[in-house]
């Protein structure tokens, strides 16, 4: 095909040809730990990265490879690496970029788990996060130091629904020659393709909208192929000879997909968080309907948000899709098809009212996840953010009155009716 296929065609076909050995049309689940070599020369060529092929499922697997090529195609990247979870993807990306003592800049508007990973766990690797205090490009530039190795943002932040100015922040990254990493979990490539806006690396929790059915954990790293690693030798993992591969220089040998290869043959190989082929299969199947599901998530979320905005027991609604929302303009620019399926709102009556609402809903499931076909709800102050004091909860966007919903693809009228009956009980 000479014309670039459309998004929906790629979502179904990218990476997935019929199985060459059996003709199976659906990608088989290659549930095997290892792969047989022809002979010792073939083994040596595989271990030396000279031949393409599978050795051991911690490093590559043919089912997982379909998932990788599919997401790389949807994001417009050169290559991808799928791993066990979104957090594993973030760890492996930073492991390839950071040396002890290095810094990276991150938005404060991030999923709480990422705030913990960056602010607490990464300290033991001597990697240091510098938080950008606001969302403007200048807030990121203000944190640049000679030790800065990367900038990390979410395209659409969880749960606040903040839409980030990716182009502006990408410009700062380019000026200081550090890669921009964008977590595209909440938007998905259906709503926003960060590489087109200047991102160099995209990470995603596949567990959410990509898998889409709340049944599988997974994460992915997409290499934009845009960053010049050799320019000033600040990324030794890519530009220094690797003793474990006969002194190969990854950036030189693998060109514009060297970052994805580095994450695979060093990060994943040595740290080990491989995705199971069964999960990869589930996620491949989920992605086939991504466009249909994502549009419905957005359409339903807008209807529910509009309903809540007019409800007298609701204090405020934070959803970028609402005309009244402060992020509506950026949403129209970066994700015109919709503002995603997740948003927060405040109930009158604070903590008690929040607890009552999540206890009385019948269709919404009370749990800690997003991006499922079914609608989900959580009251962060009594669950995920329970350990924080009042001020910390407020700073994290998890004040006593805050409810987070992930709107599913059920009938919107039923979701509204469920919230209506639960609000009535307040």
């Amino acid at each position: 095909m000479s014309n670039e296929p459309g998004f929906d065609t790629l979502a179904i076909h990218a990476g997935a040809q019929p199985d060459p050995a059996t003709g199976a049309r659906i990608t088989p689940i290659y549930q095997t730990a290892s792969f047989v070599f022809d002979d010792v020369d073939h083994a040596a060529a595989l271990f030396g990265l000279q031949a393409f092929g599978n050795i051991y499922t911690r490093i590559t697997n043919p089912t997982t490879a379909v998932l990788e090529e599919r997401v790389a195609a949807l994001e417009g990247g050169t290559a991808a690496l799928a791993v066990a979870s979104g957090h594993a993807a973030q760890l492996i990306v930073m492991h390839a970029l950071m040396q002890p003592g290095d810094e990276f800049i991150a938005s404060r508007k991030l999923y709480g788990g990422s705030i913990n990973q960056f602010g607490q766990s990464f300290k033991s690797f001597d990697w240091h996060v510098k938080w950008a205090e606001g969302t403007a490009a200048s807030d990121f530039e203000a944190q640049i130091t000679p030790k800065t190795k990367a900038i990390f943002i979410e395209s659409l932040a969880n749960p606040g629904g903040v839409v980030m100015d990716i182009n502006g922040i990408a410009e700062v990254a380019r000026k200081h020659h550090v890669p921009l990493i964008v977590d595209n979990t909440m938007a998905t490539p259906y709503l926003c393709r960060p590489i087109e806006h200047g991102a160099d690396i995209v990470v995603e929790s596949l567990t959410k909208f990509l898998a889409g059915h709340g049944n599988s954990m997974g994460g992915i790293i997409v290499d934009g192929g845009t960053f010049d690693w050799g320019k000033d030798n600040r990324y030794p993992v890519l530009t220094q000879p690797r003793p474990e591969y006969n002194d190969i220089v990854l950036a030189e040998t693998f060109g514009n997909f060297a970052f994805a290869i580095a994450c695979r043959v060093l990060g994943l190989r040595d740290l080990g968080p491989a995705i199971s082929p069964f999960n990869a299969f589930q996620i491949i199947t989920g992605i086939e309907t991504l466009a249909l599901r994502m549009q419905r998530h957005c359409d339903n979320a807008l209807k529910v948000a509009e309903y809540l905005e007019g409800h007298d027991k609701v204090e405020w609604v934070s959803y970028a899709g609402l005309q009244s929302d402060e992020h509506n303009k950026l949403q129209k620019q970066y994700m015109p098809k919709g503002a995603g399926g997740v948003f927060t709102f405040g109930v009158k009556g604070g903590y008690e009212a929040g607890v009552s609402l999540v206890s009385n809903v019948q269709i919404f499931s009370h749990l800690a996840n997003i991006g499922d076909t079914r609608s989900l709800v959580i009251h962060p102050a009594s669950t995920t953010h329970r350990q924080l004091d009042d001020d910390q909860q407020k700073a994290a966007g998890a004040g006593a009155d805050v409810i987070r919903v992930s709107i599913g693809i059920e009938d919107a009228d039923d979701l509204i009716a469920d919230l209506a009956q639960a609000l009535k009980q307040l």
Partner: protein, 176 residues
């Protein structure tokens, strides 16, 4: 001149399927250099490869005899693959023009592009591919490169074609 900004997938695939013999200028004896990786891969895919490297003439690279120059080749080749810096191109063009049997294809490695030189070669009837790697292109078209997560930018409802052994794909109708 052909469009060197956009080669169609069919054009690249047809070249790789029709070529049998390749002279690789700048093939390295160093086993971790990209040219060595490409050489071993192309040999494994059935091409008759002739490494050209003046310092290694008379020695084997990747198990095959190395020649000092294109003029020393024992027989005509279908394709010349240039794995040298751009500065070396003018001298290489002279060498190609002096070959008793011109190759059908001149392929310039990833990172090398010179449209004037391409025009000169095309005027003599040769097809020129610039700024591509034959190993990557072969891997895209046979499908193997997808095993390391690379986006091939090719979709197909036809199966990849197996070669004997484990985990080896080939191109439909490949002559080599």
């Amino acid at each position: 001149m052909s469009d060197h900004d956009n080669y169609s997938d069919a054009h690249i695939r047809d070249i790789l399927a029709s070529v049998r013999s390749i002279a690789m200028i700048g093939a390295s004896a160093n086993k971790v250099r990209p040219s060595y990786f490409a050489a071993t891969y192309l040999i494994a895919k059935g091409y008759d490869l002739y490494p050209i490297n003046v310092g290694q003439a008379g020695n084997e690279i990747a198990g095959v005899m190395t020649y000092a120059s294109l003029g020393d080749l024992p027989e005509p080749v279908d394709m010349v693959d240039v794995f040298r810096r751009a500065e070396a191109l003018p001298g290489i063009v002279d060498e190609i023009m002096a070959m008793p049997h011109l190759p059908k294809i001149v392929w310039l490695q990833l990172g090398i592009r010179d449209d004037n030189i391409a025009r000169k070669l095309e005027a003599e009837g040769m097809t020129v591919i610039q700024n591509r790697c034959p190993k990557i292109e072969y891997g895209r078209h046979c499908g193997e490169i997808a095993w390391v997560g690379v986006n091939r930018r090719i979709i197909s409802a036809k199966k990849p074609i197996l070669k004997p052994g484990y985990q080896h794909f080939t191109l439909e109708g490949q002559h080599a």
